[in-house]
Subunit: 317 residues, 2 copies
């Protein structure tokens, strides 16, 4: 972050007509934006949301309550403006882009072999990297991909160890949850040799939309565009960066704590406190999109409020 | 709430292109709005925020970090558009009204006698009742009044019993907190005879802006305008209704859990789970105003999303 911008924004924050600290987390959000945007007048009027979609060979293991055809159907729903994320993007004035990644060609089933070749994972990373608008002042990555909470659980387990990373996803029953856990365990066993290498973990256990989000979050860092992280799948893709270079996610805040069981645990590993916790478990970047409103509120206060001197208000003792 | 509207909205919610329940709390918010607005297509495009301001004789007890003059100075700041609530109102498209209540004539110090006469409390209740726009589709009451967290603590203690209701307010030190606690105890001792009567509690221990908010929240109920409750002071004013008629706040949700120490405890007494918890402790309706964005997101999803049939998306198993 830009130290001068941060200092300027901090000085302004201390003069605004409110008791010190009385806007709570909003003050921290405004300063975080100021630092990454490199201005003491942060803004959030040009947010971009990009939904990455992919299909997953691991659905052959019976890990989702929905058939894989739903991925392409939902992409059409995004195009026609009918999904939740379309409404949230409109509500908060965000540009929404949709990037389907070879939906007709699912990744390989990671319980049987590597999910992607090197060329495939690089193509997906590049697609994500190129999808970020450098002119955006806030970025949200979202995802759609039947089976991808299993993929995210495998990534989290590979990157952080431990078990119990699989969850209910779109709503599997106990038997489905058992199949998810078994698939994750099988994937980790098969790819045991690469677990120390985050990018190889992404290639062997990941999915195209997760790799694209990894690339997009990295691109946002390069362009100094602050990022609001969404739920479990997005955070798993982001974790690949954090495990590669600690601090790689300093330009990101957590927008929403999802109802997906292991998301709080993953946020804790990332050291991120979510802005919202409203029980969403939809994906599509929906929780982060909702948090855009909070960030816009923070920016509005920081940039629009009068100072004590301007307003002729007495400061506290 | 309107049972037919609620049923219609519930049926629509079940057909939207998302796994059942995947929008979490947003789904409940949309249904709550539908029931109180009496329509299966809830809306939140005409929110009204009213800030009530009052002055308090109990400031003579040294209970605030700011001098009482700040109340009228902040009212001027609201009028010139310089306060936090002005920015938040603009950010979420809310109409903002400000109702100063005889600022040149503070209430009496409740440690010495009743804060208001019967005529005074009735005038304040009426001012609040009349301030609600029946055409609004969402209502937020906010407040400004140096000393009013002490007043709110006295109300909460009188209505629910127990001690420890006083908090840091705008930022008093330990000595100031001790003076707040002493003032609350003195007020309860002086008015011990009326503690069983919520309206008498409001008259003897309350303040004009709190009584106005009590009246406004009641008016919103009569007009079927759903309410987002703000912080500790607003909830204390609302509690007068809940203690008079249980269920009187069913048209209200809690927008934000404030950093004021006893607010979580008061929300628990009211049976309200806050939408947000971002550490604000400013008053002005700011936490509830921020929650308008969440409610608008909920409404946008409920009213704008395609159904599975419309979108040609397969439903889950």
């Amino acid at each position: 972050p830009d130290a001068a911008a941060l200092a300027g924004a901090g000085a302004r924050n201390g003069q605004l007509t409110k008791p010190p600290g009385a806007l709570g987390r909003l003050e921290q959000v405004a300063l975080w934006l100021a630092g990454w945007q490199g201005t003491d007048k942060p803004h959030a009027g040009r947010p971009q949301i990009v939904i990455f979609a992919g299909n997953h060979g691991v659905t052959a293991q019976g890990v989702s309550a929905f058939p894989p055809e739903v991925t392409v159907q939902m992409v059409a729903n995004f195009a026609h403006g009918g999904a939740a994320i379309n409404q949230l993007a409109k509500a908060f004035g965000a540009k929404l882009d949709v990037v389907p990644l070879e939906l007709e060609r699912p990744t390989a089933d990671f319980t049987q072999g590597p999910a992607m070749t090197e060329a495939e994972v690089v193509a997906a990373l590049r697609a994500g990297y190129g999808a970020v608008d450098p002119e955006a002042d806030l970025f949200v990555a979202g995802e759609m991909g039947i089976g991808n909470t299993t993929v995210a659980a495998a990534l989290a387990a590979a990157l952080y160890g431990g078990t119990g990373w699989a969850g209910r996803g779109t709503g599997v029953d106990d038997a489905g949850l058992g199949r998810k856990e078994a698939a994750v365990a099988a994937g980790l066993a098969r790819h045991a040799a690469v677990l120390g290498d985050p990018l190889e973990v992404l290639r062997c256990l990941g999915g195209r939309e997760l790799a694209a989000m990894t690339g997009a979050i990295l691109a946002a860092r390069m362009h100094r565009v602050p990022v609001i992280l969404d739920g479990f799948v997005v955070c798993a893709a982001a974790a690949v960066l954090e495990r590669s270079v600690p601090g790689a996610l300093d330009h990101c805040i957590a927008g929403h704590q999802s109802a997906e069981g292991a998301h709080p645990r993953l946020l804790e590993r990332l050291g991120k406190e979510p802005l919202l916790s409203l029980g969403l478990r939809l994906g599509e970047g929906s929780g982060a999109a909702l948090a855009i409103g909070v960030v816009q509120g923070a920016v509005a206060c920081h940039s629009g409020m009068a100072t004590f001197a301007e307003a002729g208000v007495a400061a506290g003792s």
